[in-house]
Amino acid sequence: MATIAQAIRMALHYGEKNLGVTDVFGEDVGPPLGGVFTATQGLETAWNSPLDERGIIGAAMGIAMAGGKPVAEIQFADYIFNTIDLLKLAGNLHWSSYGQYHLPMVVMTPVGAGIHGSIYHSHSFESVASHIPGWKIVAPSNAKDAYGLMIAAIKDPNPVLYLKSKALMRAVGDELIPGEPADKRALDSMINAPVGDRADWQPRWPEGLTDYTIELGKAAVVRAGTDVTVISYSRMLPLCVAAAAEIEAETGIRAEVIDLRTLYPLDMETLEQSVRKTRRVLVVNEDTEVTNFGEHVLRKLIDRCFYHMEAPPTLLAGVDVPGIGLSPLLEDASVPQPAQIKEKILELAKIPA
């Protein structure tokens, strides 16, 4: 049973061995550290870049132009905001070169709160990112998806942004990734770098890793229900699932929880089908609420099924404040908490038809 960090590591290993990944790079991505969350330990193609996010994105674009397949990391999404112009260029070069160039590149970056990261280790990125045309965006909430979405991102010939929740990085899934050993300790001893001197360390990769792919643009109904649709992803997803389970146990109200997994392009079919059924929809994410990606999801649903909605299509998101404070009291008051998620679901469910 891998953590999400291990799942990413294994997918990147599979990618460099089988899918043509040429460079996994970024700040502290190579040895000895292998990434601030260990997601790139032991990889053959991993290397440390200068501390220069613009240089990282630019280099990834150049590598992709010259036939390489880079996976570039921005150490924290909090530090990606000086590269938006470059991300826009990466997203428009295919279009503006009239289809001559395309950029098979992956950019991965940790997002969200939940680790007492204070203002600059807590940023979300989906709202700004989804406004940049030409990028596909994924945001896994469990290890198996983390693997399958990374494989899909690598295979895609277009720029793909891979958002990984900092707080979930050590979360262990409950589904086995095809090919991984079931014993967590065994896996740890094979692919985790030792503490201390690791100059001579070599990972032993599981033999049976596969091409397991989660198609981009496909959401997953992770908990079936009939009374409210709850749409989420990344760190908020398990909180929504837990809230739904509690609510069902306590009240019998059955919320359907959908894990978007891919934020762009949206799986409108799955969403619409659910909302037409439940006639109530809540989107939950932790980005700040003004011009929030969840508002886009709601608008798309309104375009398709307004007349089926019996309650206001609702967003539960981060409060419109300039940052997440270090004090836990500040953080908790700034991003959705389990109690608020429950409350919102119940509120929507209880609105009379």
């Binding site: 220069d52 240089g55 630019g58 280099a59 010259a66 880079p70 279009w95 277009n158 392009p265």
Partner: protein, 347 residues
């Protein structure tokens, strides 16, 4: 230019030698490039196109560069990350003048951008010409990427990046110098600054302390030089020397070319001919005549011939349809366009 002489390895792609024949070819290429600018400026004035920007004044350096490029596709060949004054380079590489007129006209036939981008914003995948980005200086952070692939690939291919003087104020220029010189991973990259003394209306002396921008390379342990970009022979030699070094040593070189800006910044400032700037073509013609390689009359004949041909080209371009919404929705490769407006037939 001040490159220290060095023993160069053999066997790498060689610059052609500057024979009398080649000089005459260069002369014609310089004129072709200039006439492209004349015609596109006139298209702007007559409403046959919108915004104009181009390279009049950069012909000596640009044609010298274009002819020394190892042209082709993939890391065995040179990559070019160019800015919007690079028509002399493209002409020397063999790009068709009519295609630039097409981009100026935003026709569907514009091979560089399908009528999407401004004139002189090239993209030629077959020749490793990466898309010219309208954002100043961003090419300097992408160039290390192609050079890194070349470094690893081996061979003698190199990466060329160019841009203006004012743009070097963006941090991206320094990023490029740093990425080009990582210890043990020095890149085969020719970092060029075309110094024309202005950024739009702002004189360089108002915003930058030194006229030797290339000197910034020094602190990174990178070789550098400054050349009179209006002097064809000097430009040719400087490029040849820098390229030979890069191709064989697989290390970077920073080359500044001091050039003219003969028609102001762009159509936004009128695009009129500026007095007082040196014309590199006139200067080269004086050389040709002095050397007995051409007469005044022979030179004039070339101008006339090129202008006549370009008139034909323009006629053709004006008969072609503007780019339509047919193709506007190709955001991703490898897929059917995902955003089809109901009334747009798809190609």
């Amino acid at each position: 230019m001040t490159i220290r002489p060095d023993t160069l390895s053999r066997g790498v792609h060689q610059a052609p030698s500057l024979t009398p024949e080649l000089k005459l070819t260069i002369h014609e290429m310089m004129i072709v490039s200039r006439v492209i600018d004349e015609v596109t400026i006139s298209m702007n004035r007559s409403g046959q196109g919108f915004f104009w920007i181009g390279g009049p004044g950069e012909e000596a350096f640009g044609v010298s560069l274009g002819l020394q490029v190892k042209k082709g596709c993939g890391p065995d060949h040179d990559y070019l990350h160019l800015h919007y004054r690079s028509n002399p380079i493209l002409v020397a590489m063999g790009a068709l003048p009519i295609d630039t007129l097409r981009q100026m006209r935003s026709t569907q036939t514009d091979p560089y951008s399908g009528g999407r981008n401004f004139v002189n914003h090239y993209a030629i995948h077959a020749w490793n010409v990466t898309p010219v980005t309208p954002t100043i200086e961003t090419q300097y952070v992408m160039a290390p990427g192609t050079a890194w692939v070349q470094k690893r690939h081996g061979g003698d291919g190199l990466t060329i990046v160019n841009g203006g003087d004012a743009g070097t104020a963006e941090g991206d220029f320094a990023s490029c110098l740093n990425w080009a010189t990582r210890p043990g991973a020095e890149l085969p990259i020719l970092v060029i600054v075309n110094h024309n003394g202005y950024g739009i209306s702002t004189p360089a002396g108002q915003v930058q302390s030194s006229t030797n921008i290339a000197q910034r390379a020094e602190a990174y342990g990178m070789r550098w030089g400054v050349v009179d970009g209006n002097d064809l022979l000097a430009s040719w030699a400087a490029i040849a020397e820098a390229m030979a070094y890069i191709r064989s040593e697989r290390k970077p070189f920073c080359l500044q070319a001091n050039v003219s800006r003969l028609h102001g910044h762009s159509s936004a400032s009128g695009a009129n001919r500026v007095p007082d700037e040196i014309d590199p073509i006139a200067r080269f013609e004086a050389h040709l005549i002095e050397q007995g390689l051409a007469t005044r009359q022979a030179c004039d004949d070339v101008w006339e011939r090129v202008r006549a041909q370009m008139k034909e080209d323009l006629k053709q371009v004006l008969s072609e349809p503007l780019a339509s919404d047919r193709d506007r929705f190709i955001t991703f490769t490898g897929e059917k366009p995902s955003f089809v407006s109901p009334d747009s037939p798809r190609r």
